[in-house]
Symmetry: C2
Subunit: 401 residues, 2 copies
């Protein structure tokens, strides 16, 4: 009857910490998400220890709640994103995605080689510099009601491209570690699968919903459209992991499909409480993963500063170069919007640690770098977006029901 | 990046199974919850095996999601329950709670003794007959929009009394198994703690909110009242386990406190999507716990039939006798409303198995009995409530805001 006591306490602590952190950040005119991540860092293993490392390990309840939280967040972002809008920025987003992967990968591997890694291992380290985590940026854009801006569409489109490329790159560098060679045919198959999945689901799903979404109201349950799209969200999140992509890509697609329904407005409202309950778990858990002990030396801090600077500058340059056609101001926003690495950098670091490519310190530095990029971005992005008020908005004719 | 694949698939399967089961049940004019429990039984280990026993063990992500689901359900029920209304039915609810515990406990121990258990063990077996699980009944009452009826208030009030007594009883029978004696002082302290917790939190919290709930809007976040009451819900759910009570008692109290705020209506609306996402996990997981293999003999089925009949009849008599003062029709509804045992019987059975009091078959029978009572109740209750339309409603003057 009472086994649930310990986990309930943890849920309570995480939830309250997120609220307090978010509130303090907002009082300081910072995005709430910065406060939630900081709160996670504060209650995590390296400071207060109210969350233990075992509680945030892969597959634990807290980890799964965090995963559901970020999935719902990207679903909600998709719900505000029409396929038509993404098509309009398709070319720019593609260039931003590609250049935004190549520049950090190049700079990262040069830095790693300069620090004594052989080239194979340098490429592995560099992979941790690559993948943008859309969750952080999406949350900031949503907090500022900026999801309808052209820069937001480019960032979201580029994040999808970015995830495909990061997945391929990770496949390559992992197989290189095993002393293996690169199997080009296999890579092409993986690439085709991922691109095909996104194209078929995104384009097909949107068409079906635009053609007819009345059937969503057919079930007898009181929340039938919501239940169906949530099932779609979980299903596509799972399916996208089967194609080697992040779960949030599938969730974003599900949201984009649902945005074509005539129930879109109701769905948007109903999704808000779900985000309110579950996204704090994602941001607190993210913050709690940084290990401050490994960073407690001048040398480590210096290395962290250099790595973080490279991570920020390289991604910014990539995004900025890729979107210069939209003007310098928009390019600046897009460049910064691509900076956060969040959980993807952490996954690469974990793989590297397990494979013996990294020691504990490099691991901690890469994790801390991922989180620093995630924490630096929101305030800068908020400032850039507020400064550039009245910027380009996409004009979308309303073709719904 | 892709570790989440397996758990996402499970979440997807559970969620979709709940929707399909609920839809079929509603098409058959049964409460949706019956379909969700049946779906859980179908995809669970003993039939399709899409959920493994490991996935629903205590402390797993699925188990925690189920726990959050039932906590939110009782929170939502509390949100529709005013302290004033409960006070009006206080005496009846108290009698229903007490008699509704004594009769099943008496009949259960006589049956167990008649089946060869010595008296100490018989009392343990009987403890599995005792505790009503408010979740099932609450969901049916909510599905039928019957939460404002006087019978619903009595059932909810009695469920709180019931949980206190069940906790004390379980403490007694467990200590008897260890060959120990009953420590009356300790029991009194536990009783005083539980009663004090409920009284102070329920009465005090309601007063604070009625006096002033404008402060709930003070935080800057876009969903501040919701976030604060959700934190309260998690906090009280945890705290009530610390007083030996079920987590859902604390959640119910939190909802009841929040029902006194002037934001009550908004909160009610915002809670609905949370229930839609999370309660299916509770009902599917509940259903998946029945082990049909142990019941695959005529003898076992006969024993199950007898045990279930005793469980239903004894609880019905207790509830009916306790509430006769409200008239026979109301007493019938209340008697049946108290019948479902759900997860509490399962917990006693698990303790009994661990302590060597039960063998696997008795364990399976008690679990199946708990679930059968949970599955029999909803259709009967729905039928009784629909038949008696226009029944007594409590008149509550609106004293809010």
């Amino acid at each position: 009857m009472h086994h649930a006591s310990e986990i309930l306490f943890t849920l309570f602590v995480v939830f309250v910490a997120a609220q307090i952190g978010g509130e303090i950040a907002q009082r300081l005119k910072l995005p709430g998400v910065v406060g939630e991540i900081t709160a996670g860092c504060a209650i995590g293993p390296s400071l207060l220890g109210w969350i233990t490392p075992e509680q945030i390990a892969t597959g634990t309840p807290l980890d799964v709640l965090a995963e559901i939280g970020v999935i719902l967040l990207l679903f909600a972002v998709g719900l505000e994103t029409r396929l038509e809008d993404l098509k309009k920025v398709g070319k720019v987003a593609f260039v931003v995605g590609v250049v935004g992967v190549l520049v950090p990968f190049g700079m990262g591997s040069v830095w790693a080689h300069g620090n004594g890694f052989d080239w194979d291992r340098s490429l592995f380290v560099a992979a941790a510099f690559v993948a943008t985590s859309a969750g952080i940026t999406a949350r900031v854009l949503q907090e500022l009601s900026a999801l309808q801006r052209i820069e937001s569409k480019v960032i979201l489109g580029a994040a999808v491209i970015d995830d495909i490329l990061a997945m391929l790159l990770l496949g390559v560098v992992v197989s290189l570690q095993g002393g293996g060679s690169i199997d080009a045919t296999h890579l092409l198959v993986v690439l085709a699968g991922a691109v095909g999945f996104i194209a078929v689901i995104g384009w097909g799903g949107a068409r079906v919903m635009r053609w007819n979404s009345a059937w969503l109201d057919k079930p007898l349950g009181p929340h039938s459209p919501l239940m169906i799209v949530l099932a779609l969200c979980l299903g596509l999140a799972w399916l996208s992991t089967r194609f080697g992509l992040a779960a949030i890509i599938g969730a974003f697609l599900a949201g984009m499909i649902a945005s074509e329904t005539r129930q879109q407005h109701t769905l948007e409202k109903q999704t808000q409480p779900l985000l309110a309950l579950l996204t704090p778990f994602f941001f607190v858990v993210t913050g709690s993963k940084v290990d401050l002990h490994e960073l407690a030396s001048a040398e480590a801090l210096w290395m962290l500063a250099v790595v973080t600077a490279i991570a920020i500058v390289s991604k910014f340059i990539g995004g900025w170069l890729g979107s210069l056609s939209l003007g310098r101001r928009s390019a600046t926003i897009i460049g910064f919007g691509m900076v956060p690495r969040g959980e993807v950098g952490i996954v690469v670091a974990t793989l590297g640690l397990a494979a013996g490519v990294f020691d504990n310190r490099i691991y901690a530095i890469i994790v801390a770098m991922s989180l620093l990029t995630a924490m630096v971005t929101p305030p800068v992005l908020a400032w850039l977006l507020k400064r550039k008020t009245g910027g380009k908005q996409i004009e979308v004719p309303d073709v719904r029901g």
